[in-house]
Amino acid sequence: MPAKELSPIEIYKLLPGTNCKECGETNCMAFAAKLVNREATLQECPPLLEPSRSETFNKLWALLKPAIKAVEVGVGDRKVTLGGEYVLYRHEFTYFNLTAIAIDVSDEMPDEEFEARVKVVNDFEYEYIGMKLKLDMVAVRSTSGEPSKFEAAVRKAAELTELPLVLCALDPAVMEQGLAAVGDRRPLIYAATKINWKEMADLALMYGCPLVASAPGDLNALKGVAKTLWEYGVEDIVLDPGTSWDEGVMETLNNFTILRWDAINEEEEYLGFPLFGVPMVTWAEKTEDPVINEWNEAMLASALVTRFADIIVVHSISGWSHLPLVILRQNIYTDPRKPVSVEPGVNTYGEPDENSPVLLTTNFALTFYTVASDIESAKLDCYLIVVDTEGLSVESAVAGRHLTADSIAEALETYKVGDLVKHRHLVIPGRAARLSGEVQEVSGWTVSVGPMDSSGVGKFLDEKWTPNPE
């Protein structure tokens, strides 16, 4: 049954009903509700783990399992989970596991280039709303077709990074040598095809590694390969329906949509696996400037993030092309059930005193973290009032009457800002400029209008701030 239709009652009926609180909830019904929201797992219920309840456990497991199997790649802290999804559209529930982004290297790349590329993946980090956005994996391709070269490249990659690897070679003999080197790292094997499926399946079983089933442009063949692998005993499967750009992009998006729809809404057998996308196919086209390839790749990668891919392989190592991609991914995989806001109140930065500036913003998390990080990087000593706007940004809070002269005056009052400073001089955001006169009237504070973007706050205070302006 699709996750969105599951009710806590159906789960509750199968729970032990002991209300023992060992799971941390007050009773079994509360635990059932958490299970349905996927905020708790069955393992948190000790009575359920008793051997006598194994049949019930399996029943519950079947009810609660994601429509798309969660496939783990790699080992240790940086291992990634592919799939584990319950719904087609994010608003129906939420997506759980970020599309993993793998950057490729090849076994014929000069050492310097190889190392530089792995370093980019290792070091990539962008701070966004209090989170660190990263790249996830390294895909090693066999371009030489020689087992020993592949083995050397795979070994080198494993030495250079803790990140999970994707081993890409269609010749089982080549793959075998790569696995001999890094099989204990649980790499993702790419790929089993109509031709090599048996050898690849044997390797996947021998090394206990997840395996991609690949049949570009042929969904029926893809399902045939996946079915064969499953029946052969391979359980951690990833599906590669093929990726195309230019005029083929329509069919690519169609195929991803069909596979995800069938797996989730039709619960079609053998299709409930993560999807594998390859935006780096855009590099096959000869262009007059690699910027064109990077640009097209960023578009295709983003389209695949929007349309259900669970892992993508990209070739670009340029920050300008990765930044929109990792942010889009974060946006799409954000839980739409939980609007983000931070605690309203007064925050202090540096060592403010009674003459320090008083700034103001809203409690929308993105706004707050942006302002806070700008204040920190400008090394300011100041107070920041965070007004409760029900999680709206400055601009929409002003438009929607959540940030008003009255709500600002009330915040000044409630948080006793007057006790913190001697002066009565408030700096409001540039985007709230139209409130300045009224705030002055209602609160009695002198109001200055700050910059439109908080990146200018340091400069603004430097040039304009005085505790007691005329």
């Binding site: 029926n220 069938d262 039709e266 300008w320 930044l323």
Partner: protein
């Protein structure tokens, strides 16, 4: 064949054009720019990441190992969608009572965006260019460099967009009418509109300043003087005099964007109020575009929910959707100088606008208001490809690709 697909003779010329659009970035200096888009709503409420549940052990079943490749069929999920999106005609030819040489139709979808395994989209989503009547409008440097010579002349600006950048429509934003800017009169705004109508032969959308009273006064003067043109007025909001606004549009043969702020119920409410005075075929809806990283998730989901609800039969949401994609430039990552690892921002900016637009294209947007020529061109190329009905050529053998 549309004028846009005519040009498409393989992908290389388009790439070269894209490169030209981007090429200038190497020439320009890297000043910081204070950038704002006051006239455009930017808002959002994204959610938080939740830890995914840990995997649970799999009950193992007994299987017989196959010795040969098994065969199977993938079901093509053809669905019954009881609803469909109304078609809205934009612009009118002389024969139809206007003066446009080119007219457009948007909407008409019967399945979710680009589910072309079920049905092809009946009309191309339209890429329109923003033009402002106020030369001081703050623009990111990467955008401004393409329009520097024309920013003080909206008619020339519009012409440049159509002739050089293949704009399918022009969105003229009348900022000078803002009481906080120049408080320009309705008659002076009309003069600007007439000049732009003269300068280009594509349909026009006219944006106000966001002041509900002033916008209505200006829209009224323009609507009456340009009766029959099927101008797309941008926009009517819940705090405007809805009856009056709707009647001005209807009585003079125009169309309008119903603008609400990221709220499916408010979108319904505004449409419902408009239905008393205006045929559905005159209404486009805009539920607000937030930039990538600044609430795009929320904008995307509201649009996707509206479109899916409409297809499932909701009679108050089945309108073509419009997006102020230029809002992408409100994201500081689109214009700000950042560390060398994120350079150059002259690429980061237009790709930001492109991906903001592309994501909403996949949610169902029919009408895009854009600014950067490379972003607009990329979107158009993508739309061409999505509409081509083409199939995957030979799969790329990417594993052994030598780069």
């Amino acid at each position: 064949m549309s004028p846009l697909t005519e040009k498409k003779k393989g992908t290389l010329p388009i790439s070269m054009k894209l490169l030209e659009d981007l090429a200038k970035f190497q020439e320009i200096e890297l000043d910081d720019v204070e950038l704002t888009f006051d006239e455009l709503e930017i808002s959002l409420t994204p959610g938080m990441m939740m830890g995914a549940p840990a995997p649970v052990p799999v009950p193992v079943k007994a299987r017989v190992k196959p010795t040969a490749l098994m065969e199977d069929q993938v079901g093509i999920p053809i669905q019954e969608y009881p609803g469909s999106i109304v078609e809205v005609k934009l612009g009118a030819t002389r024969a139809e009572g206007g003066t446009r040489d080119r007219v457009l139709t948007i909407g008409g979808e019967t399945v979710p965006a680009f589910y072309s395994f079920q049905a092809s989209p009946p009309h191309r989503p339209v890429i329109a260019f923003d033009v402002f009547d106020w030369g001081k409008v703050p623009l990111a440097r990467a955008v401004k460099m393409h329009f520097r010579e024309v920013v003080n002349d909206p008619a020339e600006w519009a012409k440049l967009c159509v002739e050089k950048f293949d704009a399918e429509m022009i969105n003229l934003h009348l900022l000078t009418i803002d009481p906080l800017i120049e408080d320009a009169s309705p008659s002076s705004a009309l003069k600007v509109v007439e000049n732009v109508l003269q300068a280009v032969d594509v349909p026009l959308a006219i944006g106000g300043c966001g002041d509900p009273v002033k916008d209505l006064a200006v829209f009224t003067a323009i609507a009456e003087a340009t009766a029959g043109e099927r101008i797309l007025f941008n926009s009517v909001t819940l705090d405007m005099k809805i009856e009056e606004t709707a009647k001005v549009v209807k009585d003079n043969g125009h169309t309008i964007i119903a603008f609400t702020s990221m709220d499916v119920n408010k979108a319904r409410e505004l449409n419902r109020k408009l239905y008393d005075f205006l045929p559905k075929e005159d209404i486009v809806m805009d539920t607000t575009t937030a930039a990538l990283g600044y609430g795009l998730d929320y904008a995307f989901t509201v649009m996707e929910r509206c479109r899916l609800a409409a297809l499932k039969g909701d009679p108050e949401l089945n309108h073509p959707i419009s997006s102020g994609t230029t809002n992408a430039w409100a994201a500081r990552e689109a214009w700000m100088k950042m560390g060398p690892e994120w350079a150059p921002r002259e690429l980061r900016g237009p790709i930001w606008e492109t991906i903001t637009g592309q994501t909403l294209l996949l949610a169902g947007v029919d009408y895009f208001m854009m600014m950067h020529p490379a972003a607009a061109r990329s979107m158009r190329t993508l739309i061409d490809n999505l509409m081509s009905g083409g199939s995957q050529s030979e799969p790329t053998e990417w594993v052994s690709l030598k780069l």
